[in-house]
Symmetry: C2
Subunit: 230 residues, 2 copies
């Protein structure tokens, strides 16, 4: 069976990594069964042949892929008879998903980081905590506590940043059109990060994006996945 | 010959509308000759059959299209033997360009408006000025002078908003991949708005996006178009 190394907190049911969520949603979309193996930062050696030393890492027989974008490309190529990740047609152009990837990483990720870093830290395995604090504080130049100040303002800014999505989805149900594609999962995965690590709803109750969010949850149900503890 | 009604200032060489630029760049990409007819806000009746009463309006024989997005879709459908606007293949999926359209309109347009509205006002035909001031101030709730305060800060915020483009174009020359597509022109047209109305460079001299900007200018040269007065 396909294995996916999936970032976990001290409680192995805590799986918040948006990049792992991308991979899990892609697997669910393709209808592929997989085992999500909990992985923690101090377990750098598993799997030994992964180059980047980060998760997600997908192991499919002899194939090992250690990047969520590459995993999506691989799955579409390796399983062309399953539903396409970039559009209904097999081998559809991933250009839209690539733009959404960069938009998400440049304009959503920096805001979400200001909400998630401290709660993630608190839920980490104790062996992971010193590494996590030191590496993140080195990058950001301030303490985790300082990064995660002004939470209400940051959540409000995040919700505002979804404006392009809100206007696009006025006219069509999914980012790629009539059906969910990897572009949708890239954004959804960011939202799961917030839900799992902070128990914060990414959308206000009256946000028109709620329909889109709820439609996508069916892919989780089909795959027996859940983003909250059970 | 194809005609395009194109927003103009008092000096008819001032053509700054980003939506008209989208249409002109699309026509240039397709290699179609056209006449760009200067149009001013008070000329509501031209052409009489346009529904929206806004430009651009494209007139191609019996076909009249009055929206820049619809113009691009029309041109690809009506001229399938010419270079595709949404990718090299005829009838390529416009999904990427549609996301870029909404991103541009939601996350670039509001910032650019804070730079362009007052300079545009000053360059308008005197007959257009009262309408322009009243309509824009009604929407924004403040005077044009107040909207266009803090120009340096706004320009800096605009340049920061281009971050997704900057990271995407690290790995490929154009938004859609190897070749320029309508998605590129949508962003470029926003930049022309700033150049023509304010004579402000949208990119800092050391911005890596300069390469992309310069590559795209060839489509203008081919069509004999220029975004600055000659």
């Amino acid at each position: 069976m396909i294995q996916l190394y999936d970032l976990a907190g001290a409680d192995e049911r805590d799986r918040w990594s948006p990049y792992c969520w991308r991979a899990k949603l892609a697997l669910a979309h393709k209808g592929l069964a997989f085992e999500a193996i909990p992985w923690r930062y101090h377990q750098k050696a598993i799997p030994a042949t992964a180059k980047k030393g980060t998760v997600p890492v997908l192991v499919d027989g002899e194939n090992l892929i250690d990047d969520s974008w590459q995993i999506a490309l691989y799955l579409d190529q390796a399983y062309p008879d399953r539903p396409g990740l970039f559009g209904p047609a097999a081998g559809a152009d991933p250009a839209l998903a690539l733009f959404v990837k960069h938009w998400t990483e440049q304009q959503l990720h920096p805001l979400l980081r200001k909400l998630t870093l401290l709660p993630m830290y608190k839920k980490l395995h104790p062996t992971d905590q010193p590494y996590f604090r030191a590496s993140r504080e080195a990058v950001m130049g301030v303490t985790l506590e300082q990064i995660c100040q002004d939470r209400d303002e940051t959540l409000s800014a995040f919700r505002q940043q979804l404006a392009p999505l809100r206007s696009l989805l006025r006219d069509q149900p999914f980012i790629g059109g009539a059906q969910a594609t990897f572009a949708d999962y890239i954004v959804l995965a960011m939202m799961y990060w917030l839900i799992v690590s902070c128990n914060i709803s990414p959308l206000a109750p009256d946000d028109p994006l709620q329909n889109w969010f709820n439609s996508l949850s069916t892919v989780l149900d089909r795959a027996g996945l859940c983003c909250t503890k059970q």
